[in-house]
Symmetry: none
DNA sequence: ACAGTTAAGGTCAGTAATAGTCAAAGAAAG
DNA sequence: CTTTCTTTGACTATTACTGACCTTAACTGT
């Protein structure tokens, strides 16, 4: 199945897809009510799944008539974007950054779910074999694999 | 008979077989409970029996709603040789060894001349960015790239 | 205008639910 | 007897979820 957070995430993404303009306005209280949870759960989902790194901008206003707007930003064409993401990988990469980048690439369709899983698995496996410099190895491996994928598909 | 680890391994493989899509999601705590052992025993089994080398990818998530997913990725028969070569790559790899392996893979037609150049270039590029542990990185990168190539072309 | 009320949303720290790591003890194999 | 594989458990890390308390904006009556 999946957690409540996963379901709320999916729900918001579905709304975004059917919105026509990649943005959706929601009521925190209403959404929390629909999912039978506390309002702050919505903040949790937004904070963990709809980050800028993953391509989302979240704006909100308090008070009467308040709202939360989630915008899915799409920049350049996908390949350019992928290359930029690749460039943004520094000499070190945490596990979380790796996840965010993979999620983003999968999102824009540069890699398939299967490729995403493969890359994640490979990186994890390799990183698991060493004790020092895990972040450095992660960065190198991801760059190498993505570079290969992009090169061989273009 | 076999050890506990063997039984757990067999159990997971059985689940995989009857899964239809070569992947299965399990709960570490639940499985440990079923086999009356400590949870970390499951990690041991996964680490020793469900490695990439043997054709498995293991993904997991901690926290509430956490899980462990085991995916079995199948490689074709005519790539067995390549897989064996892959296995033979140790934890360190000199430049010379790298060349030898690439040459052999190109010879037996597992990678094309273009892929050979690509891999060599990527490895060189990455290895050039660090000062220590070049041999370790070379081994990791080659394993990763070859595994990816073999996987995505089978 | 002003003050009070109502109607949003935000923060943060704590609890619970999972899984991961590592080293040491125990068992099996050579 | 030595080495390698298995098993355990204490400690750590991560993710999800909740609730009490805080902030902001609009509305309302005088």
């Amino acid at each position: 199945m999946g957690t409540l957070a996963d379901h709320i995430e999916a729900h918001i993404k579905k709304m975004l897809k059917s919105s026509g303009d990649n943005s959706v306005e929601l009521s925190r209280a209403q959404l929390a009510n629909d999912f039978s949870c506390v309002p702050s759960q919505i903040n949790y989902v937004l904070a963990t799944r709809f980050t800028l790194e993953r391509g989302y901008i979240v704006e909100s206003r308090r008070g009467g008539g308040g709202y939360i707007r989630v915008v899915h930003v799409q920049v350049e064409d996908d390949l350019t974007h992928a290359v930029n993401l690749l460039r943004s990988i520094g000499s070190q990469l945490s596990e979380r950054q790796l996840e965010n980048i993979l999620a983003r690439l999968k999102d824009i369709g540069v890699i398939s779910p299967r490729e995403c899983r493969l890359v994640r698995g490979i990186v994890q496996q390799e990183v698991g074999t060493i004790n020092q410099g895990k972040d450095v190895l992660r960065a190198s491996l991801l760059r190498a694999l993505l570079f290969y994928i992009i090169e061989s598909e273009s």
